[in-house]
């Protein structure tokens, strides 16, 4: 018991340790904020430098898939509720925009509504669905999303709407900026959520729902909060897709493929990490676009193999590369300074 006893007599130690830890941490934080700001500025400058639509399209897709992946990650990676119904949220966002915007509502209003509609629907469906745990929750959400997709496919006419005047005035740059802004907003919201006190409760629910409740965390409100935020951004991603694509079958954004894209991106990048969906989206879009051009029919197969390889080599996703590099660097530096002091 000596340790405890002696620590009781030194109440200033933890305070000092806390302060120095904070200072060390905040320097790294300032650095990362600068890097983020530089990347955002560079991305914002791209349409000023080039009008090449292949470049802008590629970056647009990366931004869109960052939002798609991160919105799934909020619910599945951080809150631990592995939903397979994500496409329904994306689809509802797209459908809301399609309906309102083509119906004459100004796009900004339609865009806002496209975040709110999936969030409201999800919170209504979420209350009963969260009674399911683990795999039952995943299967339940998949079933709900498929029912919605089939309903949409059967009730809405199977036409890809072609609003002629909209196609005539179509410009890529506004789509590009919308997607960039949305990706940045999603990243910022995720960062702030998991730096907050509330984010701590969401993580605790993911780790162990019972232990979290024993520690004062109410399970349902935290799961619902994660679901609502996730749905909001998924819906905005759907809206951005509708704004970009303009002409598509109404059923298309409800397709389960969107869910699996989100899942793949998050797992390849690093599930439950802030930066994972970014790395995953970059990787996924680059590989997909390259393979689609060169190996039209083989690309799902090759992508599947690549995915398995990455998950095998880096079980934590691509973020693992960074962690391993840092660890290797730290041990090298440690052994370096050790050998130097030994040489003295």
């Amino acid at each position: 018991m000596e340790q405890v006893g002696s620590q009781l007599n030194q109440p200033t130690v933890p305070l000092r340790a806390a302060l120095s830890a904070r200072r060390r941490f905040s320097r790294a934080r300032v650095f990362s904020w600068i890097v983020v700001a530089l990347i955002a500025l560079a991305m914002a400058a791209v349409p000023q430098v080039t009008t090449r639509s292949d470049v802008l399209n590629l970056l647009f897709l990366i931004f869109l898939f960052i939002v798609l992946g991160q919105s799934w990650n909020i619910l599945a990676g951080f809150a631990g509720q592995v939903s397979l119904g994500h496409a329904a949220l994306f689809g509802l966002g797209a459908l809301t925009t399609r309906t309102l915007w083509f119906g004459g509502v100004p796009f900004p209003l339609a865009f806002a509504a496209s975040g709110l509609v999936p969030a409201v629907c999800a919170s209504l469906i979420g209350i009963p669905t969260f009674r399911l745990r683990g795999a039952y929750f995943s299967i339940g959400t998949l079933a709900i999303a498929e029912v919605l997709r089939i309903t949409i496919a059967n009730t809405l006419p199977l036409v890809s709407f072609l609003p002629v005047d909209m196609l005539a005035t179509y410009e890529l740059a506004p789509r590009y900026y919308l997607a960039l802004a949305l990706a940045l907003a999603t990243m910022l919201a995720t960062y702030l959520l998991f730096r907050s006190r509330y984010g701590l409760g969401i993580l605790a629910i993911r780790e162990d729902e019972d232990a979290a409740q024993a520690t004062g965390v109410r399970a349902l409100p935290h799961k619902l909060a994660a679901l609502v935020i996730s749905s909001f951004f998924a819906g905005l991603a759907g809206s951005t897709y509708a704004f970009y694509q303009v002409s598509y079958y109404p059923e298309a954004p409800f397709h389960a493929g969107w869910t699996f894209d989100a899942l793949l991106i998050t797992f390849v990048g690093g599930v439950g990490t802030l930066i994972g969906p970014v790395l995953g989206a970059i990787f996924y879009i680059f590989v997909r676009e390259r393979l689609a051009v060169t190996l039209v029919s083989l690309h799902p197969l090759i992508f599947g193999i690549l995915f398995i390889l990455i998950v095998l080599i880096f079980p934590g996703g691509l973020v693992d590369i960074g962690t391993r590099l840092r660890r290797a660097w730290n041990t090298r530096r440690a052994s370096h300074s050790e050998s130097r002091s030994a040489g003295k």
């Binding site: 620590q7 340790a17 109410r218």
Partner: protein
């Protein structure tokens, strides 16, 4: 330093006249046809240490789950600080000041020790006002249990003793009036048991009311003011450690002839 766990100082002199903190009335829990707990009356006064013992399957953990709100009660009522809490959920009971540890420790594996404890600081009886406030408090509590140097370490791959320390720290972070420890000593080697018992004594000094479930009977008798014995879901004895140790029914059901504990 331990005083920081408690905002309200209560007189430490004797619990005879101290207020009733927890009271269960005729509490019953059924699992299908099995009656895990049958009509148990149990009460704890402020500042007291109550030992709860009995053979395997006696209903001790079930009793904890009923008190902390993890199981819905089938019959009976539970009062905490004279308020009826029978219908409150576990998180709300924690906020009222009831904390627990689990028989099999359950740390938040992929969070750091600091974050584990900060959860209790944010969501407990006295919520932290900011994440920073929570982290400062978490650090102080980890200091109390001897884990401060691992503040930023992840909670997986801790030794059993350190997992128990963490489990205790997380419960303490909620600033409980009443703390239920379920087999806190189980699985520890003799010298670790000694350390853990010292931690329990520190809790008593800080005036936290405790209910201990243990199979190491000598240890329970050593620290408890009062002992309740459960057998097949029923209370078969209650009294001071000496009274309980001499009780014929307790000897038959649990203790045996010598004072030997079951594993």
């Amino acid at each position: 330093m331990w005083g920081l766990l408690r905002r309200t100082e209560r007189s430490s002199q004797g619990h005879i006249d101290a207020a009733m903190l927890l009271k269960t009335e005729q509490v019953t829990k059924l699992f299908g046809g099995l009656t895990a707990v049958r009509g148990v009356n149990l009460s704890v006064r402020e500042g007291e240490i109550l030992g709860l013992i009995g053979p395997n399957g006696a209903g001790k953990t079930t009793m904890f789950n009923l008190i902390t709100g993890f199981y819905r009660i089938d019959r009976g009522r539970i009062f905490f600080q004279d308020r009826d809490i029978t219908r409150l959920g576990p998180a709300d009971r924690c906020k009222q000041g009831i904390a627990r540890t689990f028989q099999l420790v359950r740390p938040f594996q992929h969070m750091t020790l600091g974050e584990n404890v900060a959860v209790g600081c944010v969501y407990g009886r006295v919520p932290a006002t900011s994440r920073h406030d929570a982290e400062m408090r978490a650090r102080a509590i980890l200091e109390l249990v001897g884990l401060a140097d691992q503040f930023d370490a992840p909670a997986h791959n801790l030794t059993l003793m350190n997992r128990k320390r963490l489990e205790l720290a997380r419960a303490l972070a909620t600033q409980p009036f009443l703390l239920l420890l379920d087999e806190f000593l189980a699985g520890l080697n003799p010298s670790e048991v000694h350390v853990a018992l010292e931690l329990v004594r520190q809790l008593r000094a800080s005036n936290i009311t405790l209910i201990l479930v243990e199979h190491i009977v000598e240890a329970v008798f050593g620290v408890s003011d009062r002992v309740i014995v459960l057998n097949v879901g029923e209370k078969i004895a209650e009294g001071s450690p000496a009274q309980v140790a001499a009780d014929e029914r307790v000897i038959d059901a649990y203790l045996g002839r010598g004072l030997h504990a079951h594993a």
